[in-house]
C-alpha cells in the first residue's frame, strides 16, 4: 500500500512530475497492484536464497585492451544540446 505522500517522494526520486489531481489516482492504482504483490507476504521464505540470475554464468572478465573510441562528432551527434566539444546541461547550482 502506498499513500499520496509516498507517491510524491517516489516521483521526485524518479524525476517524474504528477499533476495535483493525478497524485491520489496514482496512489490508488499502485496500491491495487501492490495489494496483489503483497500476497507474497503469505509465503514462508525463511532461509531461501535470493536469485539475481537464473542461469549459471561463469562471468567472463574483460582483458585490459583498448578498442577505438567514438569520434567526438558521433558522440555528440545525438545530443539535444551541445557545444563543439561537450554536452550542454543546465548548471546543477542554478
Amino acid at each position: 500500500m502506498i499513500d499520496a505522500k509516498q507517491v510524491l517522494h517516489v516521483a521526485r526520486l524518479a524525476r517524474l512530475e504528477l499533476a495535483a489531481e493525478d497524485v491520489q489516482p496514482m496512489a490508488d492504482e499502485l496500491s491495487s497492484i501492490l495489494g496483489h504483490i503483497e500476497q507474497m507476504a503469505a509465503l514462508n521464505l525463511d532461509g531461501v536464497e535470493p536469485t539475481s540470475h537464473v542461469v549459471p554464468v561463469e562471468g567472463k572478465l574483460r582483458a585490459d585492451v583498448a578498442e577505438p573510441p567514438l569520434s567526438r562528432e558521433v558522440a555528440l551527434s545525438q545530443a539535444p544540446r551541445h557545444t563543439d566539444t561537450g554536452f550542454l546541461v543546465p548548471s546543477p547550482q542554478a
Binding site: 574483460r62 585490459d64 583498448a66 573510441p69 546543477p92
Partner: protein, 477 residues
C-alpha cells in the same frame, strides 16, 4: 575551551584512479589531458543497449591494494547500482559495490582499513556561464573522458586524531600505492582524492560528536588546513553551546572558508540493488596468488629492513617514504666496508645531503653512492674531522669526485699525532694566560677558547677531543 580540549576523530575516504589502460567497465582508453569527449565509447555515454563488462586488470589491482592493507579478500566480487540523477553520471546510476566489497577489514600504518571497493569514476562537469539558449540561465558542459575510469575507494575506520596524522598517513598511503604501481596517485590530476569524516568531542566525553564530511581536498596541504579549519569551526560551535550538524562540506583553500554542499534537491535514497547486467565474479585463489606475486617491497617493510641494519627509525622512515633516498642508501651500502657504517651513511644522507639539496632533488647532486660511503669510512677512521667531512660533502655535491682526493687537494686531512699539535696548543695557552689559570683550577669551561684558537691555526683539521687531551697534559692535569 580551546581546540586542545577536544578529542578529534577522523576517518578518511580515499578515491584512487587505477592505472589500467582502459576503463572499469568499458574497453576505451583513459588518460589525463585528452581533448574533451575524445575518450568515450558507447558504454561511457550510457547509450541505450550498452552493457558493462569488468576490467580484469582493475580487479587485479584492487586485490593488490587489499593485500597491501592486510585486508581480507572476498571470495566473490558483486557490483551494485547506486541510483541518482546527475549530469556527470550517464546511466542515472553509478556501478559500485555495496554490502560485499572486494576487500574487507584490514590495517595499515596504524590505521584500521574498513574496506576497499571498486567502482567507476564520474565524468567532468565544467561551468560554462550563461548559455544563449535558455534566457538568463547558467549552463555546464559535460566531458565523459574521465567517466567510467576504474576507481578503488579506500575507507578507513575513525582512527586518526589530528590533521598532521591524517596527512602523514596519506603520504604513506600515496607512497605505498605508487610503489604498488596500481595508480600514479597524482593529486593535481585528481588520481588521488580524499574526503574526511571529522567529529570532535570534549576530552573524556563518552560518545562521539556529530560528524561532518569534508569533500574532495586535492592536496596534502589543503587536507591538513581543511581539517584544522573544520575542527576549529566545530569547536567554536560547541564552545558557543551549539550543536554540530551532520552534513557534507566543501573547503575552499584560497579563502579557508568551509561551505555546506547540502543540496535541497536530493532526498538521499540511492536504491542500491545488485547490478542485473553483471553476474558475480568469483575471486579465485589463482587471482589472489597472481596479485601476491606482483607485490613489491612496501615502504613499511623497507623501513623495518633499514632499522634492522642499525639505521635510526627517523632516517629509516625518511629513506623508505622517499624511495630515491632509500635507493641511494642501498647503493652506497654495496661499497666495501660500508655496511658496518650503515647508521652513519643513513645519517649523512638524511641530514647532511638532504640539507644540501634544499628544494632541489637528488639528481642535482654529483655525489656518487660510493663516494658517500667512502667519506663516512674516512671520517670513522679519523682521516678527516667531522667539520672537514662537511666541506668534503659540499665539494662532492657540487662536482662529484673522490673524497680522499678532495681531502688531499684541499689539505683537509686530520692532524693525528701530538707532536704536531703540542706546540700549537702550548702557543694558544701562552696567548691566553687567564684561560690557562681557570683550566688549572679545574674549570674546563673556557677550553673552547683554546680549541677555537687551535682550529683557527689548523684550519679546522684538528680534532677537539684530541686538543683537550693534550692541553690537560700540558697543564699537568
Amino acid at each position: 575551551m580551546s581546540v586542545d580540549d577536544y578529542e578529534i576523530t577522523i576517518g578518511l575516504e580515499i578515491h584512487v584512479q587505477l592505472a589500467t589502460k582502459t576503463k572499469m567497465f568499458s574497453p576505451i582508453e583513459t588518460y589525463f589531458g585528452a581533448e574533451p569527449n575524445t575518450l568515450v565509447g558507447p558504454v561511457d555515454l550510457g547509450l541505450p543497449g550498452t552493457l558493462p563488462v569488468p576490467n580484469a586488470q582493475a580487479i587485479h589491482y584492487g586485490i593488490m591494494l587489499g593485500l597491501a592493507f592486510n585486508c581480507e579478500i572476498a571470495d566473490r566480487l558483486v557490483f551494485h547500482r547506486k541510483n541518482y540523477f546527475y549530469p556527470d553520471l550517464p546511466k542515472g546510476y553509478q556501478i559500485s559495490q555495496f554490502d560485499e566489497p572486494l576487500c574487507g577489514p584490514g590495517n595499515f600504518g596504524g590505521v584500521r582499513v574498513h574496506r576497499v571497493h571498486l567502482e567507476e569514476d564520474a565524468a567532468k562537469l565544467t561551468h560554462a556561464g550563461a548559455s544563449g539558449r535558455i534566457q538568463g540561465s547558467e549552463s555546464s558542459v559535460v566531458d565523459f573522458n574521465r567517466g567510467g575510469t576504474a576507481l578503488a575507494e579506500i575507507v578507513t575506520e575513525p582512527d586518526i586524531h589530528s590533521a598532521e596524522q591524517a596527512s602523514e598517513w596519506l603520504r604513506l598511503l600515496r607512497t605505498t600505492v605508487r610503489q604498488l604501481g596500481v595508480s600514479d596517485v597524482n593529486m593535481e590530476e585528481g588520481s588521488l582524492r580524499c574526503d574526511a569524516n571529522i567529529s570532535i568531542a570534549p576530552k573524556g566525553a563518552t560518545e562521539l560528536g556529530a560528524k561532518t564530511e569534508l569533500k574532495n581536498m586535492n592536496s596534502f596541504r589543503f587536507i591538513e588546513r581543511g581539517i584544522r579549519a573544520e575542527v576549529a569551526r566545530q569547536a567554536a560551535i560547541l564552545d558557543a553551546g551549539g550543536t554540530v550538524e551532520q552534513e557534507t562540506l566543501h573547503f575552499d583553500p584560497r579563502t579557508e572558508a568551509i561551505t555546506s554542499m547540502r543540496s535541497k534537491e536530493d532526498a538521499h535514497d540511492y536504491r542500491y540493488f545488485p547490478e542485473p547486467d553483471m553476474v558475480p565474479v568469483v575471486v579465485t585463489a589463482e587471482m589472489v596468488d597472481k596479485a601476491k606475486a606482483a607485490m613489491p617491497e612496501l615502504p613499511h617493510e623497507r623501513e623495518e629492513r633499514f632499522i634492522a641494519l642499525g639505521v635510526e627509525q627517523g632516517a629509516a622512515r625518511q629513506m623508505s617514504w622517499q624511495p630515491e633516498l632509500g635507493d641511494l642508501f642501498e647503493e652506497a651500502l654495496k661499497t666495501d666496508g660500508a655496511p658496518a657504517n650503515a647508521k652513519a651513511v643513513a645519517a649523512l644522507i638524511t641530514n647532511e645531503l638532504v640539507a644540501r639539496l634544499g628544494d632541489g632533488d637528488l639528481s642535482d647532486s654529483k655525489a656518487t653512492p660510493a663516494s658517500l660511503a667512502q667519506l663516512v669510512a674516512l671520517t670513522a677512521d679519523g682521516k678527516v674531522s667531522s667539520s672537514g667531512a662537511r666541506t668534503v660533502l659540499d665539494k662532492l655535491v657540487e662536482g662529484g669526485g673522490d673524497p680522499a682526493a678532495i681531502i688531499e687537494s684541499e689539505g683537509l686531512g686530520a692532524i693525528g699525532g701530538g707532536d704536531e699539535l703540542t706546540p700549537i696548543i702550548q702557543a694558544a695557552l701562552d696567548a691566553n694566560p687567564d684561560v690557562a689559570e681557570k683550566l688549572k683550577g679545574g674549570d674546563m669551561k673556557p677550553i673552547g677558547v683554546i680549541i677555537g684558537a687551535v682550529m683557527k691555526e689548523t684550519r679546522g683539521r684538528a680534532d677537539g677531543k684530541e686538543v683537550t687531551k693534550i692541553a690537560r697534559g700540558l697543564l699537568g692535569l
